[in-house]
Subunit: 241 residues, 2 copies
DNA sequence: GTTGATTGGGCTAGTCTCAGACCATTGATG
DNA sequence: CATCAATGGTCTGAGACTAGCCCAATCAAC
């Protein structure tokens, strides 16, 4: 860890790829994270292009790519738009090795470490902040949604729960970082079988996290989140070894 | 915090600006963070362009802009290059308000929150990891460097210390996030007067952080880092109110 | 001195990206 | 059935960005 390591950190690539590639990636993330639910519609092209800070031409190329890949169904005319046709694959341990092989073990460790750091940080910060009633309600509602979720909706609502914690801190940087972290482990999570034991365990941990945040105890919030994520990581390691 | 908030988080701009602007920003960060020390030299253009993932033309435009702004001295020929001429301004509370006004209070809160989350997360993760002797040495060395730093070098070595914690986790994503966080508060820190009381206080906190990490106590490491950053934030608030 | 390696300086042809305008389709509404 | 607002589909000219090439300056080494 000499000076050159720092040079690499700060002078890292300015661009992850061209605008088209990055846009495809973003949209795919929105779809896979369930930010736009299956059957739901992306914002109109003109609007979305502005949000993403790119031209409509480039956005359309990306949408067409996703359409051809079977993620979107694009319909013209009023009340038309780009509709999400993707549904998360039936999870199974068989796919997991393939997913891991695709991303590389280094990237896997990187993503898990990153996620641990930013999500624990978010939980800690949120617990240390003074929350409005509205914020507390949002948090409780997300938890309730997750508790009553069908297997079908579980991953999507789990994502919503985790992202809400970051968003509620009011820091868009932190929200973006958590979204990024979640995306990087998204394929892994989708490949893990959902067993009732694990779901029950996770539900208890979710409750503990919310309780700690609502109680304003940063220490406990961090610990609860840490245990929760460690559980997921352990599950992953279990299926891989 | 409804669904649309999540859309905004995930479907945020793909590009922060054009390649030229982002490159200027990056280089400026490297200079202001002291990743390239005053008098030091940037990597050769061809090499740097590859690292940044941009063309040499664009990089050269950015370098020229920084040269004209007085941050760099560019010399041709063998053993030539782009040398850093910038030295951090003499800090004073007078500038602080201006800096804050430039970035906006929302962005300020965002940056501080983000920094708190990622740096605490990094400290926690690092303390929970099994460290090699080399890593422990690096950490101790950074601490010692900082302890024996002149006022001139203090900010630079302080940055190096904080970034090292993130880098030592082995997660380049986390290192990048911490570098980003540091950059966003960099101007603020430079504007804070360095009083001996505060420096002594900070030194004690730095030692506590390192001790907790070396002891493998994530809980204590997180707490120590949190207190340290909270101290800085409080100092800022103090000068602003 | 001469040489040669290293580095910044500059040019060009081609590709990517954009802003803006206009066209085509759809379907709710009257 | 006719209308019209909303939405995707398409084109064009201009500017940004790139890869690759060669030139010019510098200076340690011989």
């Amino acid at each position: 860890m000499d000076e050159s390591a720092r040079l690499i950190t700060v002078l890292r690539p300015v661009r992850a790829g061209n605008a088209f590639e990055e846009t495809v990636e973003r949209l795919l993330q929105a779809i896979k994270l369930g930010v736009v639910a299956p059957g739901g519609k992306l914002p109109p092209e003109r609007e979305l292009a502005v949000q993403l800070g790119i031209s409509r031409v480039t956005l359309r190329e990306a949408i067409r790519a996703l359409q051809e890949a079977g993620f979107l169904d694009v319909r013209r005319g009023r009340y038309g738009g780009a509709f999400v046709t993707y549904t998360p694959p039936r999870p199974g341990a068989a796919d997991l090795r393939k997913v891991v092989a695709d991303m590389g073990t280094d990237d896997l460790a990187d993503a898990l470490t990153f996620r641990m750091a930013v999500e624990c940080g978010a939980a800690q910060v949120l617990a240390g902040a003074e929350l409005t009633d509205g914020q507390r309600d949002t948090l409780r509602r997300r938890l309730a949604d997750l508790d009553s979720a069908s297997l079908e909706d579980y991953r999507r609502l789990d994502t919503a729960f985790h992202l809400s914690i970051a968003e509620l801190t009011g820091s868009s940087l932190l929200a973006a970082a958590c979204a990024d972290a979640r995306l990087r482990v998204g394929d892994l999570l989708n490949a893990i079988p959902m067993l009732q034991v694990n779901l029950d365990h996770a539900a208890a941990q979710h409750r503990a996290i919310v309780a700690a945040i609502l109680a304003g105890d940063p220490e406990a919030a961090r610990r609860a989140m840490c245990e929760h994520l460690e559980g997921t990581a352990a599950l992953l390691r279990g299926f891989l070894s």
